[in-house]
Amino acid sequence: MTVLEATLNAVPHPILVPYITGGVDEHWLDYVHEAVDAGADAVEIGIPFSDPVIDGPVIQAASVRALERGTTPDTIFRDLDRYRGSVPLVVMTYYNLVHRYGHEAFAQRLANSGVTGVVLADLPVEEATEWTQAADAAGVVTVLIAAPSTPDDRLQHICDQSRGFVYAMGVMGVTGERATLADSASVIAKRAKAATGKPVLVGVGVSTPENAATLVTAADGVIIGAPVMRRIAAGGSVAALISEFRTALAPA
């Protein structure tokens, strides 16, 4: 079992993972710390890409802001040297950045920055081998995504190959908040839980603390991205937002 998986398994309550776009403004690492202090069990850090095809308007805007500030994988890795939290960090990005950086070099940089896992939004299981070999060698695990459209046999394969946890996409659609929680979120969580003993976290479309509370009856936890990035864009308190979710997901 990987360290990330063991760490998540040891969490005594439903797992809460906020997502923050690296470099969105000069305080971005402070937001990470606020989230950790407010009870996040892990933090997902986005490395912005020019063409984020699975992201909706809120995270697209955060990516644009970050890129316009000159954010690169290297500036994010450098900033991460000042990370003082104890919960695991997982990086989320798109494959071209990894490809361009070089698989080995990217994996090594992640490891040196204390990142334990990575989600590559556009690298499906079929194409992942070259990357996962490099990542495994550096001690970084690759988390795979299961979607509502993923058929059963494929879901089983993804759950078997995923490391750390399984990222269950809650809705067929881009990242972003929704007025109501899609039924597909609980359905994919249950299907993934039936396929694996690894933690199953639902991300995409988890918009409110109530959504989160509903979902953790089926999943081990949730990933919240757009609500966090909307809060940051509005200049609001990340700590307060995470506290609300934490309260909703208080000891099961």
């Binding site: 890409f49 020019s50 063409d51 984020p52 095809v53 699975i54 992201d55 909706g56 697209q60 890129l67 690169t72 994988p73 290297d74 494959y95 071209n96 950045l97 990894v98 490809h99 361009r100 950086y101 939004a121 556009d122 690298l123 499906p124 299981v125 079929e126 194409e127 795979l144 995504i145 299961a146 979607a147 509502p148 459209s149 993923t150 058929p151 494929r154 993804i158 996409m169 809705v171 067929m172 659609g173 881009v174």
Partner: protein, 394 residues
């Protein structure tokens, strides 16, 4: 000459080291389903017959090969032009759309989704959607909506919904992003009708197969004229008209030349990258952020190139030089005034290369087959603006 230069891709969709399927998981099942549907349809004589009938009766194929006597005389090479401008809707794009729309119908999809740059693919998709009674939504960058207004109106008249894209460069690249985002949410009832040899497997292969009718016809027509082209020249945005005509000549001695816009010369940049579903040559910065292409021609304003072209470049079977916007404008005028053919700005890239290279990389006495991928009507307003700007600058 190798007959396998344009063979089908590997099982995972690779042409040599390029291609594959790099899409978010929610789209993977649709890509796998599409591959099965295409393999089945393409092996089915009934599907082929339906498509052939539409190509004949609806778009007016075969398109002729025109011998360009005056241009030939002026240049000292024999110039033959494959007339894709004579297709219904005015470009080669409809060849591919008819194939994909029939396939969508076989798969039970009731909606077509497309991205468009110049608007030609959008118009072709809107047209065929109307023909087959399918709904149609087209994503188009705001910059392109502005410079191709006439095509926006055509699409709307045909009953399609045109969605302007305001993100990023607001051109073709970003319209593909938006189309992919939309597809994730609608994949159950919607077929993404991709307009070029781009995207995840099976698109680059499937679109080339739907466009190979250009090359197959031209091969036959050239033979009837007693001409064996020494050069086959086509413009390259994503590369579908080029792939289509190259497919008919890959096993001959002809030099295959794909002409890129100088501001979007992916092969010239010589960097491998992954965007929009496949691994290919891609304009990008040192961290892999995709760069914005810049070209007068909306249809070539794209930072990448189809993966099969990256492969053909790597094995040396085809070359991908570029021409400048100025050379393109000159070519529009020359071809219009010498042959009475007003090329689309995209297609004019192929002619610009010919005009520049005769006596250089194209020796006198050569036989050059140029793909006239589309007619210039859509570009009249823009060309007139550009020519008057140029006059003012002088």
């Amino acid at each position: 000459m190798t007959t396998s230069a344009m063979a089908p891709p590997s099982g995972r969709g690779f042409f040599g080291g390029f291609g594959g399927r790099f899409v978010p998981e929610p789209l993977m099942p649709a890509c796998l389903e599409l591959e099965v549907a295409f393999r089945t349809a393409w092996a089915d004589p009934g599907f082929r017959a339906d498509l052939a009938a539409l190509l004949r009766d609806y778009t007016g194929r075969p398109t002729p090969v025109t011998e360009c006597h005056r241009l030939s005389e002026n240049l000292g090479v024999r110039v033959l032009v494959k007339r894709e401008d004579l297709n219904h809707t005015g470009s080669h794009k409809i060849n591919n759309v008819l194939g994909q729309a029939l396939l969508a119908r076989c798969m039970g999809k009731r909606r077509l989704l497309a991205e468009t740059g110049a608007g030609q693919h959008g118009v072709a998709t809107a047209t065929v959607a109307a023909l087959l009674g399918l709904d149609c939504v087209v994503y188009m960058g705001e910059v392109d909506v502005e410079r191709q207004r006439l095509n926006v109106f055509r699409m709307e008249l045909l009953g399609a919904t045109v969605v302007p894209v305001s993100s990023g460069s607001r051109t073709l690249k970003d319209s593909v992003n938006e189309a992919l985002r939309h597809w994730v949410a609608t994949v159950e009832d919607t077929h993404y009708c991709m307009g070029s040899v781009l995207g995840p497997h099976p698109y680059p292969w499937m679109v080339r197969e739907f466009q190979r009718v250009i090359g197959d016809e031209a091969r036959h027509q050239c033979a009837e004229l007693g001409a064996a082209p020494t050069h086959v020249v086509a413009c390259v945005g994503g590369g579908s008209n080029a792939a289509g005509i190259f497919a008919g000549f890959a096993d001959t001695d002809a030099e295959l030349v794909g002409v890129e816009a100088a501001g979007g010369a992916a092969v010239g940049g010589n960097l491998v990258g992954v965007v929009h579903g496949s691994k290919s040559m891609l304009l990008q910065d040192s961290y892999g952020q995709v760069l914005e292409a810049e070209s007068v021609s909306a249809g070539l304003d794209y930072p990448g190139i189809g993966p099969e072209h990256a492969h053909l470049a790597e094995i040396g079977r085809a070359t991908y030089p570029s021409v400048t916007d100025d050379e393109v404008l000159d070519a529009v005028r020359v071809v219009s005034q010498t042959e009475g053919l007003i090329p689309a700005l995209e297609s004019a890239h192929a002619f610009a290369y010919l005009l520049r290279e005769v006596g250089r990389s194209i020796p006198r006495g050569s036989t050059v087959l140029v793909n006239l991928s589309g007619r210039g009507d859509k570009d009249m307003e823009q060309i007139s603006d550009l020519l008057s700007q140029r006059k003012e600058a002088q």
